[in-house]
């Protein structure tokens, strides 16, 4: 690309960004601006109410829930840089994309690459319109992140596959309509005997049992398949070649985790501000607990480094430079720094950070939320495979 074209492109994208921001500003209902918490807390369900529905419908009509998908499947038909601008613009405006979930972030991109015409037609539009919720059936008990040991089997019964087995850590499966699943179709080989199957959760023989975690919530479930009949047309890609699709999908997942996951829950103010409120200040105006203060400052400095690093990654992407060395470390660093924030927050709260049960006159909502987030985010480094 010569430099003139580049300048042109940059100008065009900048103009598009202004356009996107303006559209969101104009269409995001005023009443939702203070209710983002409700949205993120409810995910993958969507809150009820006229303004909630209005926002979803406007985004649906614009195709901006899946801005990079072709228009024929309800997408926005935008280029990759444009689509990224739209998604970022939601955040920049203090709004959100109402069409999130594994359908848009993972299944969609996978079907666009590997699905046949019929599958695309059947599933993509419903996803882009936010009409169907998907979950992922990868992990199994005892296999952890090691997919080669996959045991859920799908036997060829002529017109259908007969699926038997168990999945675990499927998030959102309690509310999911469909599940994309890895199943073993050839027990003789390891990676080559795996296929990628779409399963309707309402099929007889599918049972979902929520897993309660140490945070007291149940974001995950176990899913049991007992003699579940799955039509053969629900196989995506070639038989026994599901591993390739799975690997590709894991890439989408990584991207999705980077952009969609909401990691700040509970008290989201800067730590120094919270500490000044909870711990008080000394006669020089410093956070009164000198030991805690030093650790807060260190954390805040590292957090700022992280933000600068993320800005760098964004600038590189905008400049059309491939993913740099930063990408490989960003995710782990972020998970660690985020966990440090939560540890500090709990410490700043003192015993107010140890409450259980419902908020009330003893514990504020932000305190209880922080404590729960503290425990549920302990899972972050586990499920992103950092052991």
């Amino acid at each position: 690309m010569d430099s003139l074209t580049e300048v042109d492109d940059t100008r065009r994208l900048a103009a598009f960004r202004d356009e996107a921001l303006a559209w969101i500003e104009a269409n995001f209902p005023e009443s939702l601006k203070t209710k983002l918490e409700e949205y993120f807390q409810n995910m993958p369900r969507y809150p009820d109410g006229p303004d909630w529905a209005l926002w979803k419908q406007r985004v649906r009509d614009k195709g901006w829930g899946t801005p990079g998908w072709p228009k024929e499947f309800g997408g926005g038909g935008l280029s990759t840089p444009e689509a990224r601008i739209v998604l970022q613009a939601f955040t920049d405006c203090g709004a959100f994309n109402p069409m999130t979930g594994m359908g848009t972030s993972m299944l969609g991109p996978t079907l666009l690459e590997h699905g046949n015409a019929e599958q695309k037609k059947q599933h993509l539009t419903r996803v882009s319109r936010g009409e169907v919720r998907w979950c992922q059936g990868y992990s199994e008990p005892g296999a952890g992140s090691d997919l080669a040991g996959l045991q859920t089997k799908a036997e060829d019964k002529g017109d259908h596959y007969l699926v038997n087995g168990q999945k675990i850590w499927t998030s959102g499966s309690r509310f999911a309509d469909w599940c994309f699943c890895l199943v073993r179709t050839d027990p003789r080989s390891k990676h080559d005997g795996i296929s990628f199957l779409l399963i309707d959760m309402k099929t007889p023989g599918v049972e979902v049992r929520p897993i309660r975690t140490i945070s007291g919530e149940s974001p995950f479930s176990e899913v049991f398949f007992t003699d579940v009949k799955v039509p053969k047309e629900n196989l995506v890609g070639k038989l026994n070649k599901g591993w390739t699709i799975a690997k590709r999908l894991l890439q989408f997942e990584r991207n999705a985790t980077n952009t969609n996951r909401r990691q700040l829950a509970g008290d989201t103010r800067p730590l120094n501000e919270i500490a000044r409120a909870y711990v008080g200040v000394d006669d020089q105006g410093r956070i009164a607990d000198p030991d805690l203060r030093q650790r807060i400052v260190r954390h805040m400095m590292e957090f700022r480094s992280l933000r600068l690093m993320q800005q760098r990654m964004l600038d590189e992407t905008k400049a059309g430079q491939g993913p740099s060395e930063f990408t490989s470390v960003a995710k782990n660093a972020r998970a660690r720094i985020q966990q440090e924030r939560e540890e500090l927050l709990i410490e700043i709260f003192g015993q107010q950070g140890l409450g259980w049960g419902a908020a009330g006159d003893q514990f504020k909502q932000t305190e209880i939320d922080t404590t729960r987030a503290f425990f549920s985010n302990k899972a972050m480094t586990i499920f992103s495979g950092t052991t």
Partner: protein, 378 residues
């Protein structure tokens, strides 16, 4: 001497044996699922009292065994290993120490034998906010009719829901922050004008906030000398804090051992996960931290028994170290167990939750590092 006496080794072995047979972690789970607001099971506590563990620091003259603090530490560590819920720290160490060290003859006679045999439960009511701050006591005790009337509140009182009596730190003079003017009172839980409300914390034990609405007590309710209770309070807190550290050590040690056992049996990518060098290193770091922590806790308890001059330094060292190691060990327990450790069905959650509560109780690490710094002059 840093090693256990024969008597203490026997005590440890019998505690370990009893816990294994009668109070494994499953017993705690059952108690928690039952939602008992006291935070412990009466039958379990009765059995514990029956073995005399409630009387370990109480003088023989008052029905105890007078084995001392190192010995109660041995018991608490074993209970901590299995997250056994019982009001030992608040009652058999906290309240018992206050009375044994500063109580009048009548106070001792009335309460110590009952604490020793478990028929009464005592608790320490010190803090008035979400952080341990014995220097900031404000609860007002004003002279009234030859005695005092107390007005104000106490928060997060350990075993506060089950307590039959409280040792209450109040202010008969000066203001929050002053060294003098603190007085300890012995107050029955049923005193008129005293109310309590449960504080539900993550470890499912029994904590209470107390409200004092002009609660009247006689002059004979004073423990030690009126207005000069700070030194006594410090001694009581040192003893109670060291006891907490002992339970923490048990939690940490068991968190480590459970994790190692898991790593030895769990297979991933065709290998035992314990065979991954990076995980071995993580285990080795934790092991080192445990080995460095244990002697600090033993030394603090031993120093108390020997009435050594550096008790306070050693207690702050022990508590800060125990806080950090149990925090570390329980986080690693969750992490190294992978997904299973995140489920409520696994015990790891009990360990990390109890660890977090004890970490804040009687001073977090920042508090004790600062206290240590001031004691040594840094």
């Amino acid at each position: 001497m840093s090693l256990l006496t024969d008597e203490q080794v026997m005590l440890r072995d019998s505690a370990r044996g009893w816990v294994k047979a009668n109070a494994p972690v499953g017993a705690f789970r059952k108690m928690r699922d039952g939602g008992n607001p006291k935070g412990f099971d009466d039958a379990t506590f009765k059995a514990i009292a029956g073995m005399g563990w409630t009387g370990v620091v109480i003088p023989e003259a008052h029905g105890g065994s007078e084995f001392g603090y190192r010995s109660i530490g041995v018991v608490l560590e074993e209970l901590g290993r299995n997250v056994v819920a019982a009001p030992l720290i608040g009652s058999a160490v906290g309240a018992a120490s206050a009375l044994a060290l500063g109580g009048t003859k009548a106070q001792k006679r009335d309460w110590l034998p009952k604490i020793a045999d478990g028929t009464a439960i005592g608790a320490l009511a010190v803090d008035e906010g979400p952080r341990h701050a014995p220097d900031r006591i404000a609860l007002a005790a004003t002279p009234k009719g030859g005695g005092y009337a107390l007005s104000g509140g106490k928060t997060f009182v350990m075993e506060g829901m089950a307590a039959d009596m409280f040792v209450v730190a109040a202010r008969t003079g000066g203001k929050a922050g002053d060294g003098t003017g603190v007085t300890l009172f012995l107050m029955p839980a049923g005193a008129r004008g005293l109310s309590r409300k449960r504080r539900e914390l993550m470890d499912s034990r029994g904590y209470a906030d107390l409200t004092f609405g002009d609660v009247e007590v006689g002059a004979d309710a004073v423990i030690g000398k009126a207005g000069e209770g700070k030194a006594l309070l410090d001694k009581v807190l040192d003893r109670t804090t060291a006891a907490v550290a002992a339970e923490q050590m048990g939690l940490a040690q068991q968190a480590f051992e459970t994790t190692i056992d898991y790593m030895k049996t769990r297979v991933q990518f065709g290998q035992l996960i314990g065979s991954f060098q990076a995980l071995q290193h993580r285990a080795a770091y934790l092991f080192t931290a445990l080995q460095l922590a244990r002697p600090t806790i033993d030394a603090a308890l031993q120093a108390i028994d020997e009435d050594a001059p550096d008790v306070s330094e050693l207690v702050s060292l022990a508590k800060a170290t125990a806080n950090d190691v149990v925090n570390y060990a329980t986080r690693e327990m969750i992490q190294l167990h992978g997904g299973i450790g995140m489920t409520d069905a696994h015990d790891a959650g009990f360990y990390i939750k109890r660890a977090r509560v004890l970490e804040a109780a009687f001073g977090n690490s920042a508090y004790h590092r600062e206290r240590y710094a001031r004691l040594i002059g840094a």
